[in-house]
């Protein structure tokens, strides 16, 4: 038997496989396809203080080995989450994190504060990296000063795990990671989507209504791996890696690069059962290499 458990700041996960915010709804969308209790955690859809309709259609463009999205944090607001969604998902036997986003620091504070009392939510993922909203989102995550301010203020009111999700659209991601760690982040997740663009040449128009959007899928994996490796070297808190993970081998690469856990995003759209297969694949790998614990491979890259 191998031990798949990992510790993420204040939270223990039964295995290192989580599903990424915005790709897994509230988990309920996947309950018909798979056993949610098999995975380490779910990061539910980006939640904001108020209801957001998101951006206009078209919001998606398929690109080589990936996709661009410009959903723009469509959600019904934190009140709706607390009263309508939470009662439906609180019995899920997996760690449930809420991805929190905002347009102002006050939005982040109020939203996080409201989530404090939900027993079955061990933490939030602070989204300072959404590329698809005009005000806020990525704006907070692209400078050390604003990133640390958000984390500092939310840390004051939120008592449980704060995982901070970083934007790859920066010059030096390790600097941002150090800045949020210094203000009390319990863990750091990366990468959010890379800002990209797609054009319809025949019609001479952008494909997305917002012109630019966030790139995800295997196309971003090499960039994500590099950034996870850089951040894991720089910080002491656990790192959660993501970006184009399609299978267990991809996931293991992120663990070797220094991630304590991983998140699966875009791959859920193609195979809604992929996260369970990745858990099984990591276990097989550990057995095959005679490892006892997933910790034997975290950061075990030989250079």
């Amino acid at each position: 038997m191998v031990d798949l458990k990992v510790k993420l700041g204040r939270t223990e996960l039964k295995n290192p496989v989580m599903t990424a915010s915005g790709t897994f709804g509230y988990g309920t969308e996947y309950a018909d396809f798979m056993d949610l209790s098999k995975i380490g955690g779910i990061v539910v859809k980006g939640t904001t203080l108020h209801d957001r309709q998101g951006n206009s259609y078209p919001r998606m463009a398929e690109t080589p080995s990936g996709m661009l999205n410009a959903v723009g944090l469509q959600n019904k607001g934190v009140e709706y989450f607390i009263h309508k969604i939470y009662p439906e998902i609180k019995s899920f036997d997996t760690a449930l994190f809420v991805n929190v986003s905002g347009s102002t620091i006050e939005d982040y504070i109020t939203t996080a504060e409201m989530l404090n009392d939900l027993d079955r939510i061990p933490g939030i993922e602070l989204n300072i990296s959404c590329p698809n909203v005009k005000e806020g989102g990525m704006a907070f995550g692209t400078s050390c000063l604003s990133a640390s301010q958000v984390v500092k203020e939310v840390r004051r009111v939120y008592k449980k795990e704060i995982m901070v999700k970083l934007s790859p659209n920066v010059t030096d991601i390790a600097d941002i990671a150090l800045a949020v760690e210094a203000e009390g982040a319990d863990s750091i997740s990366l990468i959010n989507t890379l800002l990209g663009m797609a054009i319809n040449a025949e019609k001479r128009i952008p494909i997305l209504s917002t012109v630019t959007g966030g790139l995800s899928g295997p196309a971003v994996k090499p960039v994500a791996l590099r950034m996870v490796w850089q951040v894991a070297k720089a910080v002491k808190v656990p790192v959660v890696g993501m970006g184009g993970i399609m299978n267990a081998t991809d996931a293991i690469e992120f663990l070797l690069a220094g991630a304590s856990a991983i998140q699966i995003g875009t791959a859920n759209f193609i195979d809604p059962t992929v996260s369970v297969k990745v858990v099984e694949g990591i276990e097989d790998y550990l057995i095959r290499h005679n490892y006892k614990s997933v910790y034997d491979i975290i950061g075990a890259l030989e250079i």
């Binding site: 915005g22 790709t23 897994f24 709804g25 969308e29 996947y30 396809f33 309709q53 998101g54 206009s56 259609y57 078209p58 919001r59 998606m60 398929e62 690109t63 080589p64 080995s65 990936g66 996709m67 999205n69 959903v71 469509q74 899928g217 295997p218 399609m246 875009t266 859920n268 759209f269 193609i270 195979d271 809604p272 059962t273």
Partner: protein, 252 residues
């Protein structure tokens, strides 16, 4: 999620093909309007699944028909599938056309291009219920009018082509049948400008009307939120709230 086996893959002409798939186990129940998400190969150029509406379900043979137009790399690859190949699908997805309230209701099914696909299945179900419908099918030219022999089993066929090569020349909304016959409900699927014109006609004549939308989507089951349409309830997912919408629900 099911792996289905290709039973036939018929090129109808250089643009369209009919993919027929089956299974050893009984196919799940499916209804007109619903769709499937086909996994192509996750290669660089056809990374995501392809949503395809259900053209027909042959329950006696336990086979599912998919009428597909070659529009890009993904559909081009699907066109090359051979008998015996397996293909992974999520099915059935989405909502369904609502059936008429009464058997005396007269439905008109208006389709354009590959949008005729779900109307064959709908026509067959209506016939099973004892309702004879009219089909009004439009295309750019004769080669865009497909499966006419199949449609003729379930109702009367009226056609329009933009070049006049089949039926009346012009668009479906100009067809003379609209001024001759009185309909209680219109079902439509096809290019958005066509459906909007049909919806406009239905609204002016106070006829119930449902349309099936074809927004691009990544997942097909309500997780990615990419396929939204603007409705009276705000942005709603076409994959889960639709693809069939009563036109009163849409902000057209």
């Amino acid at each position: 999620m099911l792996d289905l086996v290709v039973k036939d893959n018929l090129a109808l002409n250089d643009q369209y093909f009919l993919l027929i798939v089956g299974s050893d186990s009984v196919l799940p129940p499916m209804s007109p309007g619903q769709f499937v998400e086909l996994r192509v190969d996750n290669s660089a150029e056809s990374f995501l699944r392809r949503p395809i509406s259900i053209n027909f379900v042959d329950y006696s043979a336990n086979q599912l028909w998919l009428l597909i137009q070659v529009v890009g790399a993904g559909t081009a690859k699907l066109a090359t599938l051979k008998i015996g190949d397996t293909i992974n699908m999520l099915l059935p997805l989405g909502n369904t056309f609502s059936m008429p309230q009464s058997k005396s209701n007269k439905p008109l099914l208006v389709g354009g291009g590959v949008g005729i696909a779900p109307l064959l299945f709908l026509g067959s179900k209506l016939k099973e219920m004892g309702i004879e419908c009219d089909f009004l099918l439009g295309g750019r030219s004769e080669q865009n009018l497909l499966q006419l022999n199949e449609f003729s089993k379930y109702g009367n066929i009226y056609t329009t082509t933009e070049d006049g090569s089949h039926g009346e020349k012009g668009f479906v909304t100009n067809h003379s049948i609209l001024s001759k016959n009185k309909y209680d409900i219109i079902y439509s699927c096809g290019p958005t400008p066509m459906m909007k014109a049909v919806a406009d006609y239905a609204q002016k004549n106070t006829i119930e009307c449902e349309v099936s939308l074809e927004n691009t989507m990544a997942c097909g089951f309500g997780a990615c939120l990419c396929c939204v349409t603007d409705s009276v309830d705000g942005h709603v997912c076409v994959c889960t709230e639709g693809p069939v919408f009563n036109i009163k629900k849409l902000k057209w």
